[in-house]
């Protein structure tokens, strides 16, 4: 854990020293460059990592720097997707965490605040992209002028379906429904255009809704669309989003899953088009663990881990039958996905293998990519040549997930036993009780804040009904627990997110109840013994 912390500061300090206020650090030449816009991206992205590492004072300092220094009224063409997940997501999470970081917050917090206003401002700059006949957004927008004339209408699937977490949060906090509405409309458009066998391709024309790239899979171009269906469903307790995902999940299992790998198939016919594993796909086991499918998640994770062991990183593309990298796709830009999955799975299983991956990742990254000015992207995993880039997700995600993997007591892992009561003009709210939802750039969002800002009077009654129901269930649950004596150790420590999804509807109450009541009475032996690389086949 301490090594991870040292890694963070090595990279962070060199960014501040050599690259700020540019977007990214160039670690080989020790200077900076703008990549996705011009808003000191690495700093925004790394902000909540600072707090997770416990550095309150630096968090406070950076918030002040950002408030003064960042301006979105600039003539820059920016990726709608990247700006959303990195900038809007980063500012939102910083806004929600700012009280925890000891910042003076204004009276309306968490429903108002300077960082929230910045996030809203950035998001508004993206809205013109959504004005299309289909409701699906363009991929690029000019922050000053809107969509450029002659802009390509082709957008990747993920670039359309990765807004609901940030935009719904914005809508709930600010009370302006426009953000959630456009995000939902885009999601529905994708759902409507899925193929007969239930798959989506990876690029679509947002004007005509014709699929331009018809390869279906779980990786590049699609990945965070599926992720946001699940996370959106958990964040908003939305059954419709979840049922969409479960439909996709079925189709994906049917057509793309072979021997716990997920391949690429033609979206209409279901025939295999590319037998490759992509680095980006490694988020999938983490996602599976969020919907409770831990056994399958672990099996797939172990497949991906073998690739890491072969190269010391995950190549962008890995040819599964050949067991080697794919030409021109040998790089590893220090992506977080596999570590992210390891963190989620570790919360669920406590399997030491997952810590082993964490150790491997620390060793590899330190040995291979550490340079004087930071950590450099690995250009080619075959010989470990380095490239002059350090992507902002290295500090936002890779380091954060690594640290959280080794820090089981971090406030992010809160199971509800700790919480803050905040008095707002809208009433009293219970916040930061856990159950954080990470956006796809690893920026945590507190679902309780969403609820807080839209709480209405009549819901109070609903709450009390649920309480009563819950306590009557508890009695029956206790009985089953008694019959399984001393299961404590083997018991699954439920992922905070599972907890929040289980308690459909009411966060405020679930947080207060004791943890063990929310856990399952006992697991099957299959899952209990599925550690240290052991996997079990389904009985079917």
């Amino acid at each position: 854990r301490e090594r991870v912390r040292a890694m963070f500061y090595h990279a962070y300090e060199h960014y501040l020293e050599s690259a700020f206020p540019y977007d990214e650090l160039r670690p080989l030449t020790c200077d900076g460059q703008d990549t996705w816009g011009s808003f000191s991206l690495t700093l925004i992205d790394a902000l909540d990592t600072l707090l997770i590492l416990g550095n309150v004072s630096e968090f406070q300092r950076v918030v002040n720097v950002l408030q003064e220094g960042v301006d979105f009224d600039i003539d820059v063409n920016a990726s709608v997707f990247e700006t959303n997940i990195r900038v809007v997501g980063g500012l939102l999470s910083a806004h929600l965490l700012s009280r925890k970081a000891g910042l003076e917050v204004e009276a309306g917090w968490p429903c108002s605040g300077p960082l929230l206003r910045m996030a809203e401002e950035a998001a508004r700059k993206l809205l013109p992209a959504f004005h299309t006949p289909t409701g699906m957004p363009y991929g690029t927008v000019n922050l000053l002028h809107g969509v450029n004339p002659g802009e390509t209408p082709v957008t990747c699937t993920a670039g359309i379906g990765t807004f609901i977490v940030e935009f719904a949060t914005l809508s709930h906090l600010t009370g302006d429904p426009v953000f959630e509405d456009v995000a939902r409309k885009a999601l529905k458009a994708l759902w409507k255009n899925r193929s007969d066998i239930g798959l989506v391709g990876n690029h679509i024309d947002v004007l005509t809704a014709k699929w331009v790239a018809q390869d279906a899979g779980i990786g590049a171009g699609v990945d965070s669309y599926f992720e946001y269906l699940v996370k959106g469903a958990i964040l908003l307790q939305d059954k419709e989003l979840m049922s969409m995902f479960l439909e996709y999940n079925k189709a994906i299992k049917n057509y793309t899953k072979f021997d716990d790998w997920y391949l690429w198939v033609q979206m209409y016919k279901g025939t295999v088009s590319m037998p490759v594993f992509q680095s980006l796909e490694a988020y999938w086991p983490g996602l599976q663990s969020l919907i409770g499918d831990v056994d399958n998640a672990m099996r797939t994770f172990l497949n991906y881990y073998t690739v890491w062991k072969q190269f010391g990183g995950l190549p962008e593309f890995y040819n599964i039958p050949q067991g080697y990298t794919v030409d021109k796709r040998e790089g590893y830009p220090l992506r977080p996905e596999l570590i992210e999955s390891a963190m989620y799975l570790y919360r669920a299983t406590r399997d030491p293998t997952l810590l082993e991956l964490g150790r491997d990742a620390v060793e590899s990254i330190e040995k291979i990519s550490k340079v004087d000015c930071g950590f450099a992207t690995i250009k080619d995993l075959r010989d470990h040549r380095l490239d002059n880039r350090m992507e902002s997700f290295f500090l936002a995600e890779t380091i954060k997930y690594l640290y959280l993997l080794f820090d089981p007591d971090n406030f992010i892992h809160n199971d509800g036993s700790d919480f803050d009561v905040v008095v707002t003009p809208y009433g009293e709210c219970v916040l930061s009780a856990g159950g954080y939802i990470f956006n796809t750039e690893a920026h945590p969002i507190d679902p309780a804040a969403l609820h807080c800002c839209r709480k209405r009077r009549e819901e109070q009654w609903e709450v009390e009904d649920l309480m009563r129901e819950f306590y009557s269930q508890k009695k029956t649950k206790k009985f089953t627990l008694k019959r399984a004596p001393d299961r404590g150790e083997g018991e699954i420590i439920k992922d905070p997110k599972d907890v929040s999804s289980e308690k459909a509807g009411e966060k405020r109450n679930s947080k207060k109840s004791s943890h063990s009541l929310l856990s399952c009475p006992s697991q099957s032996f299959n899952s209990k013994l599925a550690v240290l690389g052991q996997v079990f086949l389904d009985n079917t």
Binding site: E356, D383, D387, A484, G490, F525, L537
Partner: protein
């Protein structure tokens, strides 16, 4: 979408020493595979450690290898090769999917890949096996020792007085090396007998014949006339025909179906014991072997009987061999004898405080009288014992002062029935017996659990866990013992026995309910995957019962 900075790249750092220069391991950090091959000529036994400098596993294994090297460097050459650096010969010629890879050579024979746990003791054990794949068996008692082991043994008989090297000996030697290649756990042990009289013990007459010992089935002699006498064939024959009384399970940490495959075969008894592969004797293992043998013993198998006796004799000198006879006597009189319902209780407090161990035997005695029909049936239901236990624990404090070797008994009345009273006899057992007791537990646990899973209701009086002192000859002890004998023959449902090293795989025990921080890492549990049931043997009072 952005490629403004793609022009500047930096080649990977040049390889540096991975092992320190003072290490007994030769570190070829530039991947000089050709030089590594040259070095092989100098030593009879060579160990290659292929690593990647960035790899966490390689870094973790480095210390273990150094440790082994420091102990064996006078007999074995240790060579580490960086097989990652892309300018090196090794990377160009070899293609590994994981690191580290350990290869062993015995002269020109090799490579034998080591796939066991990356821990120094296991590696050292394996290296020693490669150094001396054949065990020389000089006497009759050594032969018995060799054969009574729980792992299958193959014995070759070669007379050395005829020629400097009898025909077939080299083949046999190579087959032993072959088996290490195929079976990295090294379960099949190879021995060689040179004395004709010793060989006759296992009916080997001709020099050059090979014998595979089996406990439950008849042992085999290698059919030379059917199969060619080659190293591969012998090894294959032994692997195919060996019997597995107890199997070690050593998950390698990668994705594997090992447990899946084994546990789906049926109910399994998983025994966790701390194991040091280098230790000369394993008393606990001998005890378990005994149980396994007994479990598999069918009445006709005399070989097993003999082995059992041998294990018993060598395993525990304190063991009274007349026990076996006693068993028989008692089991014959079983239908007539009347049995009180008894339950032995270990007082948990004593266990942690002192080196002594308090054992109480708790019996429910029913007085003759009002309900005569109840007395004649040796029937004792679970509830009665439970009630007895409850009242016993209420009076527990009265037994605290008992720290002596004498047996103290006290009777107390049941709260529930005026016609029965409980007897509690307490004694103190020295810690010395503790391991003995824990293995005993295994014995008594087995039949009971097996029976309960078979649903044989007529044995319900033993459905309470028992922990017994050897010297205490109470009837039900013997019945338990006799019940186990040949159980595998009598029932069609077999229980598979597995061993796991608790130093490496304690997490599985934890998942089955063992405590995380126990100083004595011994644990046994029966798992039935199909029925989703498991039975746990506890350190203190055992808890048996379906938990799901």
């Amino acid at each position: 979408s952005c490629s403004r900075a793609k022009d500047v790249t930096m080649p990977a750092k040049l390889p540096v020493n991975f092992f320190s220069t003072r290490s007994p391991v030769i570190d070829l950090f530039r991947g000089q595979l050709d030089y590594a091959d040259q070095l092989r000529q100098d030593s009879e036994i060579v160990l290659y450690f292929f690593y990647a400098p960035w790899c966490g596993q390689s870094i973790a294994a480095r210390e273990e290898i150094e440790h082994v090297a420091s102990r064996l460097s006078d007999q074995v050459l240790f060579v580490a090769v960086n097989c990652w650096w892309n300018q090196g010969k090794c990377r160009k010629q070899k293609h590994f999917f994981y690191f580290p890879v350990i290869h062993l050579y015995h002269r020109s024979f090799g490579p034998i890949e080591y796939k066991g746990p990356m821990s120094a003791v296991y590696i050292e054990k394996f290296v020693r096996r490669v150094m001396t794949p054949l065990l020389y068996i000089s006497s009759r008692s050594k032969l018995l020792d060799f054969l009574s082991n729980y792992e299958p043994g193959v014995v070759g008989f070669f007379e050395f007085n005829a020629s400097p090297q009898p025909p077939g000996y080299l083949t046999f030697f190579t087959s032993a090396l072959h088996s290490l290649k195929k079976d990295y756990l090294g379960t099949i042990r190879f021995g060689v007998v040179t004395d004709k009289r010793v060989a006759e013990e296992i009916s080997l007459v001709h020099s050059g014949s090979v014998y595979l010992h089996r406990h439950a089935n008849t042992s085999l002699i290698y059919p030379k006339d059917i199969m060619n006498f080659t190293a591969e064939n012998i090894c294959k024959w032994a692997l195919e025909n060996r019997e597995m009384l107890i199997r070690w399970l050593r998950p390698h940490g990668g994705k594997s179906l090992l447990l899946n495959n084994e546990l789906k075969k049926g109910p399994a008894l998983l025994i966790f014991i701390p194991y040091n592969p280098l230790a000369e004797i394993h008393p606990l293992l001998d005890e378990i072997t005994k149980v396994a043998l007994e479990y598999h013993k069918c009445n006709k198998s005399q070989a097993a009987e003999a082995d059992l006796q041998h294990v018993g004799d060598s395993g525990s000198p304190a063991f009274d061999s007349s026990v076996t006879d006693a068993h028989l006597e008692f089991s014959e009189t079983f239908p007539i004898a009347k049995y009180p319902c008894c339950n032995t209780v270990v007082l948990p407090q004593w266990h942690s405080i002192s080196r002594t161990h308090n054992v109480c035997e708790l019996c429910v005695n029913q007085t003759l009288g009002v309900k005569p029909n109840k007395v004649h049936v040796p029937h004792c239901n679970f509830l009665e014992i439970e009630a007895a236990l409850d009242s016993f624990y209420l009076q527990e404090h009265t037994f605290f002062q008992v720290i002596s070797n004498t047996i103290e008994c006290s009777n107390f009345l049941s709260f529930y029935s005026p016609f029965s009273y409980y007897t509690a006899c307490c004694r103190t057992v020295n810690r010395h017996f503790l391991s003995f007791i824990s293995s005993e537990k295994t014995i008594f646990q087995t039949p009971r659990v097996a029976f309960s899973s078979h649903g044989k209701k007529d044995n319900t009086q033993f459905s309470i866990p028992h922990i017994e002192d050897r010297n205490c000859f109470i009837p039900d002890l013997n019945i338990s013992s006799t019940n186990i004998t040949g159980l595998s023959c009598r029932t069609n449902k077999t229980l598979n026995l597995y061993l796991l090293d608790s130093n490496l795989f304690w997490i599985y025990a934890e998942r089955l309910g063992a405590s995380r921080s126990t100083h004595l890492k011994e644990f046994a549990a029966i798992v039935d995957l199909k029925e989703e049931v498991h039975y746990v043997l506890d350190q203190n009072q055992s808890l048996v019962g379906p938990t799901l």
